[in-house]
Symmetry: D2
Subunit: 199 residues, 4 copies
């Protein structure tokens, strides 16, 4: 069963985990896929926006992961933590006005490896995967959010029309492959770009 | 149809491509999976062994790729080049006596990106993938070569018995996933480790 | 003239910049060297501690940089922004209980490149440097903070005594070199480890 | 005393080491700074040219290092090995027709870390440094070779005139800094770009 949560605050997340546990059973797989980005220069940016970027893109996956790992370990489940990150987790693309976005994604790259090392040290068999689709701004994977988004500038919208683009299914296919591997196989990184992407 | 070649020399490779073209039809997919490693310190190593390491691990995939790309482009095929590399393509693991092995694998990492950029610039839709299984020495993926190898020291053989290990099928499953994606989807990197691998 | 600030809050930082401007003249060089780390597992960590880690280690350098760049650009100064980061900005070392520390340092790595690209796009000649000393926990560069710190466990203190260690002067020497280069030379990264460091 | 060698073949290098030992005394510092690049596509390249690129850029620094380390260890000298690499050792820049150049430079990045780990394991205090100036093609550091080179195309020569450029002294200054650090300080990486470099 797939449960989709779009909840920014920790207490809401904790309640959701509790509700899931009581009504649906234990968590086996956690897929973190939150992303927030504003369209501003780094040298003119707003401190509150930066804090929010780190809260949503980095700290929230930390506590959802902490909660999921607790349940998975307590119930001796062969669980899996998947972070949907971005190619910006490896490389800063020359797209202007992304301010701290690449920084938040580099942070997720480090957190995945920190988590893997820590689970190893604890003797846990929980698997950790980072999926890195190329989404140089949120929305370059075609999604509801993209279509509905009111905050994207005309300039950035034009990028949609001329650049190759991944579909949400392309990433979902990757996740299905990752989850289908045998228990001893850990797909650490899966990096996906549309063919023809220049960067 | 799958054709497996174990041929070290360029003229043999060229003949094999010619034979394939005449008898089986055009190449659609090339999977480069050669690897040579000797068990020596870098500071006491043998120059001819190092040259051979680069010839087999790096230069051979360059000319097989060149030949495959020629055929694929000439026949307007939606082709795919897959390099089976290693996690040593990203990170130098603290395993002694691997001398230039990690260097050859870092080279493949760079060559894949060079190839992707060049194909983009040529307007080609050929896809490029680097698969990075964790094989800290050849043989840590269980394969015929491993079982037959006479050159591996007792010390290194012991590592086999205590460390988690990938099977050849685990990597083959990854390649199948990569090839099964839609035409516009390019899996750039697929990094796989056995669960519990300490490094 | 060197002004050393240890101020966690944005309004204090803004006041300090204002005071500096009025009393000492324009800022030419900014060296960001804040770091906060707690000693906890990632899978048992505290959300507020994580937020504080990102606020101190990442968001604070963002707004000090923003303020310094404003002054430098307004006064047409050949300025320099230096981030004292860590080797944890590149690689997650196998040191336990560092939770989000490596993530905050990877974020600084990305921010430095984002800043460099943005300044280039603005036509600015401000230089950006990341200095990466090996400090696997704050304090492994011998500093006042280290000696005074009351939060470090006995276990971690023991690491001090057996591992090779950098002195604060070693990093200062690096900064002096970076600042001494001609105007057209940008030292992007300077990574320093003590000889004999195992990781 | 500085001895500059431009010798492509191993036996010549070995003779030069021998001559140095007999006439000038022990080697203390080795600076590897060879680079060969041809201007060709990877998908149309020449196998012999690729082999030569790896021989000159990678295998030659391996055997000069092996010889220097032997002398340094035998005489209990506090020696230093410096590889002048390139930013192409980290990142594949979008400059066309560089074929295996970035691959050879990624190989040097790996070899430096392999060497550092091996010297650590041997208990040696020899220091290893990688200096990474931005030279997107040989010659972008202004040098005699650049001025004399007859193999560079007109197209590439034009790049000289419009792009910011490092001088040979800028890199020499970096090497002087690296060598001036105290014995326990190991500058692992020093990455230098001209201000305004777009990539």
């Amino acid at each position: 069963m797939l449960l989709k949560l779009i909840l920014p605050e920790e207490d809401q997340i904790l309640s959701a985990f509790k509700w899931t546990e009581e009504n649906l059973g234990h968590v086996h797989v956690l897929v973190n896929d939150a992303a927030f980005v504003s369209e501003e220069l780094l040298t003119e940016g707003n401190t509150e926006i930066w804090k929010r970027s780190f809260d949503v893109n980095v700290v929230a996956p930390c506590f959802t992961t902490r909660e999921a790992v607790k349940i998975i370990r307590k119930n001796d489940i062969k669980g899996h933590i998947i972070h949907i990150n971005s190619v910006a987790g490896h490389k800063v693309s020359p797209v202007p006005k992304m301010n701290v976005y690449a920084a938040t994604k580099h942070a997720i790259t480090a957190l995945s490896e920190t988590l893997r090392q820590e689970l190893n040290a604890l003797g846990s068999k929980i698997r950790v995967t980072v999926c890195r689709p190329f989404v140089f701004c949120p929305g370059l994977v075609v999604s509801e959010m993209t279509v509905l988004s009111k905050d994207i500038s005309e300039e950035r919208k034009k990028l949609f029309e001329v650049r190759p683009i991944l579909q949400a299914e392309d990433i979902a296919d990757g996740v299905v492959y990752v989850l289908s591997t045998p228990e001893h196989v850990q797909v650490l990184e899966l990096t996906i770009k549309p063919v023809g992407e220049p960067h």
